[in-house]
């Protein structure tokens, strides 16, 4: 069963949720006890792999004990995010769903179109809906891809920041 789970995780490009696994495995008598096997995988991993809870599901990644080695292989680290990009992303992540004018209000400067474009291309933000006010402004939110990139199980796992609660009324 452990191997069957590994096969599923290894072949999946996206984190697999418990519900998804249940839909795949529950009716199969050969897969009885998959939940126990899942807990086992979560606890101890398999070889160089560890199973982590991310973006509402589970995903295999290389155990961090190999990081020093992997850094040597993956020499081209992704370019660090600019301050403006990080701030825009932070506003959307912490205040979502949020309209563009509201993002501008939080940061005190106009929202840069290239930054929004870049965040969309990375698959981190999306239009989650429209506010039913004049102009029907788009409501921006983060995607599961955002959670996956920052290794967050859910939005609740975003680091807590002092002072945010007081400003919820804005």
């Amino acid at each position: 069963m452990r191997e069957a789970l590994l096969a599923l995780f290894l072949s999946s490009a996206e984190p697999l949720s418990r519900e998804h696994l249940a839909a795949l495995l529950d009716d199969d008598p050969d897969c009885a006890g998959w939940e126990a096997a899942l807990e086992m995988l979560l606890a101890v991993g398999e070889g160089p792999l560890q199973l982590v809870s991310v973006a509402g599901g589970y995903r295999l990644q290389i155990h961090p004990r190999h990081n020093a080695l992997l850094v040597r292989l993956h020499v081209e680290a992704p370019r660090p995010l600019s301050k403006a990009t990080l701030e825009t992303l932070a506003v959307i992540a912490y205040q979502q769903p949020i309209t563009r004018p509201e993002i501008e209000h939080w940061r005190g400067v106009a929202v840069s179109a290239p930054i929004m474009q870049q965040l969309q291309e990375r698959g981190w933000i999306m239009v989650a809906g429209h506010r039913d006010t004049p102009g029907r402004p788009a409501l921006w939110a983060t995607t599961p891809g955002f959670l996956a990139h920052f290794s967050l199980p859910s939005l609740e796992a975003l680091p807590k920041v002092m002072g945010a609660e007081r400003l919820d009324g804005i």
Partner: protein, 260 residues
């Protein structure tokens, strides 16, 4: 020394700006609000109780410096200066009776916006501390699947029959030439080596038609001939003449053709 009932920990850093730092400094701000927040933090002021006159003075000082050095500043910076002046002016006026509740403070909106920016900054910092894929951890990536294959074209059986018949009706083609074109320069070199080895098998002169490959096409013949000529030029082979006056090719240093 006390300020607002709090002991002053140290003097404000003052207004000294290193000569080249101003441009870099202003470039690093994404707007006037950030410059203002930076000034307030630098002076260790309280966002909720901003000494507007002092902050405005310092803010304007930066603007003047920027203008003196011909730095282009966005109009928003001037707008912020105007707002600061307005706040200060309103603080000097008596509180209008309509807004006479405790919260009234012309600085409130500014404080709110500064706090919002401060929050965003710490949230951005918090995001920055999170591990990021490809930098701090690596996931297992299955190879991406290519797009779905195109739908096969609609082909009737008669189309295949027709195609086959058309093939059968074609005139028979000549068999392709036996040689394969490779790097011709290397082909020549290889032929030279082969010829040398061939000639060394027996210590005797060789007739030209013994050395040229039988049943060869023109290219192979040409390469062989060229190889022989090149070997002759390099004096790895020599031309000899037998009794009947026929030229033959021999490996140099081979004697056995007495007297020639």
């Amino acid at each position: 020394m006390q300020v607002h009932g709090q002991p002053l920990e140290g003097l404000p850093d003052g207004l000294f700006i290193p000569p080249d730092a101003l441009e870099l400094l202003l470039e690093s701000f994404s707007g006037p609000l950030e410059l203002l927040l930076w000034l307030i933090r630098r002076n260790r002021m309280d966002i909720r109780d901003i000494p507007v006159a002092e902050v405005t003075r310092q803010y304007l000082h930066y603007l003047h410096e920027a203008r003196r050095r011909n730095l282009e500043l966005a109009a928003e910076y001037l707008l912020m200066a105007a707002w600061l002046a307005e706040i200060k002016a309103r603080m000097l006026l008596p509180v209008p009776p309509a807004a006479e509740d405790e919260d009234f403070d012309p600085r409130l909106e500014l404080a709110r916006r500064l706090e919002a920016l401060a929050t965003v900054q710490s949230q951005a910092e918090a995001l920055h501390t999170l591990p990021q894929a490809g930098r701090d951890f690596w996931t297992i990536y299955p190879a991406p699947h290519p797009d779905l294959p195109l739908a096969p074209p609609l082909v009737a059986l008669t189309d295949i029959v027709n195609a086959w018949q058309a093939l059968l009706l074609r005139p028979a083609r000549k068999p392709p030439p036996a040689h394969t074109l490779t790097n011709p320069r290397m082909g020549l070199r290889q032929r030279m080596v082969e010829l040398l080895l061939y000639c060394r098998r027996e210590p005797r002169p060789w007739f030209l038609n013994e050395l040229l490959p039988p049943m060869a096409d023109r290219l192979a013949l040409a390469v062989s001939l060229l190889a022989i000529l090149e070997l002759l030029r390099q004096e790895a082979l020599a031309l000899v003449e037998d009794e009947e006056g026929v030229w033959q090719v021999a490996v140099t240093g081979v004697d056995g053709l007495g007297g020639i």
